[in-house]
């Protein structure tokens, strides 16, 4: 059984079902084991099973033979509000 993704988590990998030819390459190439595509089944689409474990490397996007994949960054990356000083440790 393929894993299912949690809809409340930002999905970094958008796959266009019109363009996708169900070739499995994105599943094979992903270094993080994020994308699951059922083998030998041209009916099923790839599933972004672990969206919050994506590295945003884009290897899937660059490998997809039909350009069906777009990497989409979440707001917290694009318009980041973190105060950098909070990353610099506490002095005790």
């Amino acid at each position: 059984m393929l894993p299912v993704s949690d809809p409340s988590v930002h999905n970094p990998i958008q796959i266009d079902p019109e363009l996708c030819i169900r070739c499995n390459l994105c599943d094979w190439i992903c270094p993080g084991d994020i994308i699951y595509k059922e083998e030998n089944n041209k009916q099923t689409m790839p599933v972004v099973a672990y969206p919050d474990e994506c590295w945003y490397c884009g290897l899937c996007e660059s490998t997809c033979p039909t350009d069906a994949i777009t990497v989409v960054f979440p707001e917290r990356m694009l318009r980041n509000q973190t105060d950098v000083v909070t990353l610099l440790g506490k002095v005790v």
């Binding site: 894993p3 599943d27 094979w28 190439i29 992903c30 270094p31 993080g32 084991d33 099973a49 672990y50 919050d52 474990e53 994506c54 590295w55 945003y56 490397c57 884009g58 290897l59 996007e61 660059s62 490998t63 990497v71 989409v72 960054f73 979440p74 917290r76 990356m77 694009l78 318009r79 980041n80 973190t82 950098v84 000083v85 990353l87 610099l88 440790g89 506490k90 002095v91 005790v92």
Partner: protein
């Protein structure tokens, strides 16, 4: 054979099929030996840190000028590493650089700039010469991986090594499992090469996303953790590495941008880098990161990257090459709606990794000798998990050296490999599998979250005895929770193993950091309670090994001597020609 297990006997087992692992496999394949590569990824040609490509390669080429010789670079090494470097191993690596460069070129990697037909060499990161070749390395890993596959190595993909097999300080294989099929594999080998990369996911960053990391988030210090448990010595684990990234996305690209002449500005518009180093933006990475940290602490943030003054053709070239190192960086800027041609780019400090603290040739990880062998016989290490490293070149060169060293070791060995202790193997497997669907268990994400908060607060860029002790308390308490970790599927089982390894690495890091009562290489190891370098007492390596209680225990070793002098095993030269397995004695 054993029901429910796949068993494999081989000559060399390589754990991690990245740059170092692939290069380690090659000499063994060339010697006609049997090689098994165990790798978490699915496609050898793309797996590891540089699956998407690289853009610079550090090497000596002996092209004529004095700076381009091993001797010249070696003379500068103590200064480049703040006096903490294993000169014996670094010397071997640097001397082998030209040979390995030619070898990689022979595999079809083109290091030349197509515009000029020549090598495009640049001086950056404080190095005393133009040692970096800037090149389009999109295919770099692919070419090396192809070469390994052509050599007929057996590649176990989507397979995570979880435990080394060691008997009487002699390595003879590993246990691993495939996280897609759930199959468990016991591999017996005459030698093992650990090449599983650096340690990531150990501290927080601006986006708060654990897998948004500058370095490869799927390298989780598995080699360091497995080797520690098996009794091997680690060193330089106190040093952390951070870089400067566009805020919100922990991406690379700094090297290219800085070597082309970009500036850093603080909120007052001041170009502050010269206040920290006479080389300004061309200082070592550790210095650049430290300066930005300091500016933020002084209240001078936000800090910006300024490329606007660069000539048009440089900007064009930058735009073309930006995506070579991190394919998605142009998309990030596009989706964010900024352009480095016209806008200032806000920068942040990245999360930390344990790697080589922004310093070439001073690696954090397994202490190795000049043949790449660790303190455990038959156990070799190279790449970002070894005590001498330096990006893809360091990984390639020491990887190749380790592969050759393993061949010598295997040839000098006779007798049968020890039998697998099946009771032990079953116990390890049962403990790992128990996480699956554990009711009321602790999710690995929560466990890792606590590690990251603890490290950022107390083991990060500002350390003190009190903070480190607090962190060690929390990390020790988490160790107890390891038996309660839960996963909902096989993929999660892999993550649980990774989380355990991350925790152990951070405990080792905090222990080593507590021992080093000085500050060295700025924020790579800053003790606010010992703010100055102490050359009198601390020209030393901190060596970490498993103590009698199973916890990290430290020894300070004179940095003027090779680390191998402190190894308790027989060296290769001592045993010329004949070395029985302990079991065959």
């Amino acid at each position: 054979m054993r029901a429910d297990w796949r068993t494999i006997d081989t000559d060399l087992l390589v754990i991690g099929g990245g740059v170092a692992g692939s290069m380690a496999a090659i000499p063994a394949l060339e010697a006609g030996l049997d090689v098994v590569v165990c790798e978490k990824g699915r496609v050898l040609d793309n797996c590891g840190s540089v699956g998407c490509g690289v853009d610079h390669y550090l090497t000596v080429m002996e092209s004529g000028p004095e700076w381009d010789t091993p001797e010249f670079l070696l003379r500068h090494l103590p200064q480049l590493t703040d006096g903490i470097v294993d000169m014996a191993v670094a010397s071997r690596v640097i001397h082998e650089m030209p040979r390995i460069l030619r070898k990689i070129e022979g595999m079809g990697v083109d290091f030349k700039d197509p515009r000029t037909g020549d090598y495009s060499r640049h001086r950056s990161f404080g190095l005393p010469g133009a040692y970096h070749i800037n090149f389009d390395g999109t295919d770099f890993k692919r070419k090396i991986g192809k070469h390994v596959r052509a050599g007929k190595a057996t590649v176990l993909m989507r397979t995570m090594a979880v435990q080394l097999l060691v008997e009487e300080n002699r390595a003879y294989g590993a246990l691993a499992f495939n996280f897609r099929t759930g199959e468990w594999i016991a591999i017996r080998a005459k030698a093992v090469a650990l090449t599983a990369g650096d340690v990531n996911r150990l501290s927080e960053n601006a986006s708060g996303l654990a897998f948004d990391s500058w370095h490869f988030p799927y390298n989780t210090g598995d080699a360091q953790a497995m080797a520690f448990r098996a009794g091997a010595a680690l060193t330089n684990m106190e040093f952390t590495e951070a870089t400067l990234t566009p805020k919100g996305f922990s991406a690379q690209g700094l090297n290219a941008v800085v070597s082309m002449g970009a500036y850093f500005l603080n909120k007052h518009g001041e170009r502050f880098m010269f206040r920290y180093d006479e080389k300004g933006e061309n200082a070592r990475r550790a210095v650049l990161a430290d300066a930005v940290i300091n500016e933020y602490l002084l209240g001078n943030g936000p800090i910006y990257l300024d490329c606007r003054h660069l000539p048009e053709e440089e900007l064009d070239h930058m735009e073309e090459t930006l995506q070579v190192d991190r394919y998605t960086l142009p998309a990030f800027y596009r989706q964010k709606g900024v352009s480095f041609r016209t806008d200032l780019i806000e920068v942040s400090i990245s999360e930390l990794s344990i790697r080589r603290s922004g310093v070439y040739f001073r690696g954090s990880g397994l202490a190795v000798d000049t043949t790449g062998e660790t303190s455990v016989e038959g156990l070799f290490a190279a790449g970002d998990c070894a005590s001498v490293s330096g990006g893809i070149a360091g990984a390639a060169v020491l990887g190749h050296i380790a592969g050759e060293g393993a061949v010598v070791r295997m040839r000098a060995t006779y007798g049968a490999r020890p039998d697998i202790d099946w009771a032990d193997a079953e116990r390890i497997r049962a403990e790992a599998e128990a996480a699956l669907g554990r009711a009321g268990g602790m999710p690995w994400k929560a466990f890792e979250g606590t590690i990251r908060r603890t490290v950022s607060d107390y083991v990060g860029v500002r350390r003190s005895e009190r903070g480190l002790r607090l962190a060690l308390e929390t990390l020790a308490a988490l160790a107890v929770k390891e038996g309660e970790l839960a996963a909902s599927d096989l993929h999660g089982l892999m993550r649980v193993q990774e989380s355990r390894n991350i925790r152990l690495n951070t405990e080792i890091m905090a222990t080593a950091a507590l021992a080093r009562t000085e500050t060295r290489t700025r924020s790579a190891h800053r003790r606010v309670d010992h703010p100055e370098p102490d050359n009198e007492n601390w020209r030393k390596f901190v060596l970490v090994e498993k103590g009698p209680d199973g916890r990290p225990s430290v020894r300070a070793i004179d940095a003027g001597r090779p680390l191998a002098d402190s190894f308790a095993r027989r060296s290769q030269s001592q045993t010329e020609g004949s070395l029985p397995y302990a079991a065959g004695l």
